[in-house]
């Protein structure tokens, strides 16, 4: 019997989910095969219970005691300590929430493997936040460490890189008060540096980008221990400059600030100006820095540095009313002068080290690739010769909560 067109349409319209393509048995077999394949083809079986992990929060790399060895120190979370310190409210010294373990071996990876001899838990590096190199190791070369911490699947690229002035392992033993773990203290310390803009914040990723560019000198903030009320505490101080994976010198805090102004990383900073009348504090609330290469008339490439900052009057020790236009104008000029001094100091130091920490070479490569090809090979000599043009502009847009200074009978 032939189906009429209408009947056919109706049949199409009320299609149900019955598929006749596979018989029940074949379908069952295919499902079984597919399920088996899912389990056998999906490679890693990586189930790990939380209480079998040693969560690493910070790693310190030092030169080992024996020649040609490296000492890896890892700070791991001690979950039991966390519980104790959160439940026992005050009274008695709470158990530490972390534990530092170290192993020395020929290479970093073999030392990591060595941890299995001393800890029953699997070292878990996904939450590693801080990577500290001892300055001794940094001077010998950190290529191995950077490669290991980049290549591994578990470690992340946003790990903060630091260089300690002394042994890196000691930093992890700092006596902290507010945080439960030194690793958190250090990483949060770095995250707060935007308030003063005197420390470069460098992650593994930033470091690698600088290394891979060829012309740029990687940098890393430096950390040191100091004694405060007979307690060892860590503080950030200056910046280490690297070249060919070796630490070759340092930038002071002022020079680091100069670097941050140019590289557009400075956020807030308080500038204190000494005048004949007294001290004046200006706060820079926002700044925009840029490196702009330009072509000279003779065909050579020059560098123009521009810093555009906004700020505010924050403190006034003098008895002057600084809210007048002329005074604001004068203050802006003084602030510009201060920023200019920072930048010049940092350029001087960088050229003394012959290390392009600013990325001048990169900016030339981007804007004038042909010219860069010519100077690329002896960039070190070229960099030392560069005399950048400086353009600093500061715009003060308020005088804080009050206009006139607070002085006797001033009202």
């Amino acid at each position: 019997m032939k189906k009429s067109k209408k009947q056919k349409l109706e049949a199409d319209y009320f299609k149900t989910t019955k598929h006749r393509a596979l018989s029940a048995a074949r379908r069952l077999i295919s499902i079984v095969i597919c399920t088996a394949l899912i389990f056998s083809l999906s490679s890693c079986w990586s189930r790990r219970e939380l209480n079998t992990l040693a969560i690493v929060l910070a790693t310190a790399l030092d030169v080992g005691d024996k020649p040609d060895t490296v000492k890896v120190t890892a700070q791991i979370v001690k979950p039991g300590g966390i519980k104790a310190s959160s439940t026992s409210s005050g009274g008695g010294t709470a158990e530490k929430a972390f534990s530092n373990i170290a192993f020395t071996d020929k290479s970093i990876l073999s030392a990591l493997g060595g941890f299995t001899h001393i800890t029953n838990r699997r070292m878990y590096f996904s939450h590693n936040k801080v990577l500290i190199f001892g300055s001794e190791l940094a001077k010998r070369g950190i290529a191995e460490g950077m490669d290991t911490f980049t290549r591994n699947f578990e470690t992340r690229m946003n790990v903060y890189v630091l260089v300690s002035k002394d042994k890196a392992a000691d930093i992890l033993d700092e006596e902290i008060e507010l945080e439960q773990m030194p690793a958190n203290h250090i990483s949060e310390l770095l995250e707060n540096q935007g308030l003063s803009s005197e420390t470069a914040i460098v992650t593994v990723r930033d470091f690698n980008i600088a290394t891979l560019s060829g012309t740029m000198a990687p940098i890393a903030p430096m950390i040191e221990l100091y004694n405060f009320k007979e307690k060892k505490k860590a503080r950030l101080e200056g910046t280490a400059v690297f070249k060919e994976s070796r630490m070759i010198g340092e930038l002071s805090s002022t020079q680091t600030r100069g670097l941050l102004w140019i590289t557009n990383k400075a956020k807030r900073h308080t500038i204190t100006i000494d005048t004949e009348l007294g001290k004046i504090d200006l706060i820079i609330t926002g700044s925009k820095g840029s490196i702009k290469p330009y072509r000279n008339k003779d065909g050579t490439i020059g560098i123009k540095l521009m810093v555009n900052a906004q700020g505010c009057l924050e403190g006034n020790e003098t008895e002057e009313d600084l809210s007048t236009l002329e005074n604001i104008q004068k203050l802006s000029e003084l602030a510009e002068e201060a920023i200019r001094a920072d930048i010049e100091s940092s350029i001087k130091q960088a050229q003394a080290l012959s290390a392009d920490v600013f990325g001048f070479g990169e900016s030339i490569r981007r804007d004038y690739p042909k010219e860069f090809e010519k100077i690329k090979d002896n960039w070190d000599q070229e960099f030392v010769k560069i005399k950048p043009m400086l353009e600093v502009e500061v715009f003060l847009n308020c005088t804080g909560g009050i206009g006139k200074p607070v002085k006797e009978g001033g009202g």
């Binding site: 319209y13 209480n51 966390i82 519980k83």
Partner: protein, 537 residues
């Protein structure tokens, strides 16, 4: 030969169609006899064993020359109607016929037309018809000398009052709900839809229960092919009993093996009318307060009748919230297990440390822990449903204490898993409909997550999506309007646009008349009004 075949098929029909037992068949079940006592005997043979069967013989007419009998089931009928409107006019009033009237009864229709004052009257000519009438709650009047009987509608059994349904409570919007009585239910719908285009068709299903099932739809909106399909599927049902809406649902749904329901039910007339106005048909089943509406789309799992009674912004937020709740209740435990055992790198450090601290001394792996907690919650839930209300409270207190507090402080399970299970449980109650499917699928996802981590969850999610996309409900794609994508139908899915913007009915339902209303922005004070005021001032 042919005659023999015809005879055979006829007898077959008799067996399937009539409820008459084989004894009754001996005395020609089809035709009523002219003799009252013969008819009475036939009926008493069928119903005689029943103590609630009433058969009342009486004489009537001017001289009492006619013999009659009325038969009905006590309890199914309204005795007042039978007494006042049938027996009284016959026995009492018929004596006062004028003397010039011979008082001779020429036909049974004369009784119907002149004496019996009941609204719904029919004549039946067969014994099986009389039996049917009695069983459906009518009274049957037999008169000696006529080969017919009167089927007098005197239904009057006790029924529940119309009340607010427990399953779909609303804050705004009508509160009345369907009850177990079919006619009351159809009346509730008709009261909301005073349109001649509202059609109600009746089918009897169930060889034993003879349940009345009504298909109800709006002629002119609904796709006629849909009605034909529903009728076809209903007529195909060959069962002896239909006791609830769920029974019908299982007989006519497209994918009986799916965990997702493809036929929606509701206890509220306003919901059903709303569905009918969108181009759906409804099935009302006698004896159950749940009315089926079909075809059903996946998004209907997230729609509640309240959505249309509250403000658009709020309704839309609630819709999105329900979708989120759906995903939480489906993936919550699985995601927790996957994160805690495979992908610790995805957990924020401080949270991970807290979790590590709480799982420090736990005896079970995270997957087993989750499994046990889910199991105990499901048992608690089931116990809560089955328990009588006063005991139920005790159960919930013990359950909450044992699960929430004692298990954690005894160090059997971690605190995070209790939170995850609690959120999952609460979320699963926030979805109006799909919670059955969700509570099954979350087990599957848990197993996948425990064995393969997020890879397993992805596989599970894919399988669910593929399954949903393959489902059909009476010719409509279940995932419509997402797949196949239909922009104009999106107005009532993740969002609920203002009612005045719902210009067309959902196209996925293929309504005959897709236009719902004209597009009109609700009244706004026009600018002309403002200028007018200025003029006055």
């Amino acid at each position: 030969m042919r005659a023999l075949e015809k005879l055979l098929s006829q007898t077959k029909k008799k067996i399937t169609k009539s409820v008459v037992s084989s004894e009754a068949e001996e005395i020609n079940p089809e035709k009523l006899s002219r003799c009252l006592s013969e008819n009475l005997n036939a009926l008493v043979k069928v119903f005689g064993d029943n103590c609630d069967f009433v058969s009342r013989e009486f004489n009537f007419g001017r001289d009492g020359q006619y013999k009659g009998a009325i038969m009905f089931f006590d309890g199914l009928t309204n005795l007042k109607i039978i007494n006042d409107n049938v027996i009284k006019p016959l026995m009492y009033d018929s004596r006062f016929v004028r003397s010039d009237d011979t008082g001779a009864l020429e036909s049974l229709e004369e009784l119907r037309d002149k004496l019996v004052s009941v609204g719904d009257l029919k004549t039946v000519e067969s014994i099986s018809g009389a039996i049917d009438a009695c069983l459906s709650g009518n009274a049957v009047l037999l008169v000696d000398g006529f080969q017919k009987a009167l089927d007098i509608s005197a239904k009057g059994w006790d029924k529940r009052a119309i009340s607010e349904p427990d399953t779909e409570t609303v804050v705004r919007g009508p509160r009345e709900g369907f009850i177990e009585n079919l006619r009351t239910n159809t009346a509730l719908v008709r009261r909301k839809l005073r349109s001649p285009q509202l059609k109600i068709r009746s089918i009897k299903i169930g060889d034993r229960t003879n349940t009345q099932v009504n298909i109800i739809y709006i002629d002119g909106i609904v796709n006629p092919e849909l009605i034909a399909e529903i009728e076809r599927r209903l007529k195909n049902i060959d069962t002896d009993a239909i006791l609830s809406a769920g029974n019908i649902e299982q007989f006519i749904e497209d994918s009986p093996s799916s965990v997702f329901q493809t036929i929606r039910y509701s206890e509220k007339p306003d919901t059903i009318v709303g569905k009918m106005l969108e181009g759906r048909a409804a099935i009302i089943i006698d004896g159950t307060p749940f009315v089926l509406s079909l075809p059903m789309l996946f998004v209907e799992n997230f729609q509640s009748s309240e959505d249309y009674a509250v403000r658009t912004s709020y309704a839309t937020t609630m819709r999105i919230l329900r979708f989120i709740a759906f995903f939480i209740s489906l993936f919550g435990p699985a995601l927790y297990v996957a994160l805690a055992t495979y992908h610790q790198e995805l957990i924020p450090t401080s949270l991970l440390i807290t979790m590590a601290a709480s799982s420090e001394s736990l005896p079970f792996p995270a997957a087993l822990e989750t499994f046990l907690m889910m199991l105990s919650f499901e048992i608690l839930k089931e116990a809560g449903v089955r328990m009588p209300r006063p005991i139920g409270q005790a159960i919930s207190i013990v359950g909450a204490l044992v699960m929430g507090e004692a298990a954690v402080s005894a160090g059997l399970v971690g605190a995070p898993i209790v939170i995850v299970i609690a959120i999952t449980a609460v979320a699963s109650f926030a979805i109006p409909f799909a919670s059955d499917a969700v509570s099954l699928l979350k087990w599957v996802l848990l197993v996948l997550a425990a064995t393969m981590g997020s890879f397993g969850i992805t596989l599970g999610a894919l399988a669910i999506v593929i399954h949903l996309a393959s489902l059909r409900s009476f010719g409509t794609e279940y995932l419509a309007p997402f797949a196949p994508f239909q922009t104009s139908d999106l107005k009532d899915t993740l969002t609920r646009v203002p009612l005045w913007k719902m210009r067309t009915r959902p196209r996925a339902l293929k309504p005959r008349d897709s236009k719902r209303q004209n597009f009109k922005i609700p009244y706004k004070p026009a600018e002309a009004n403002d200028s007018g005021e200025e003029d006055r001032s």
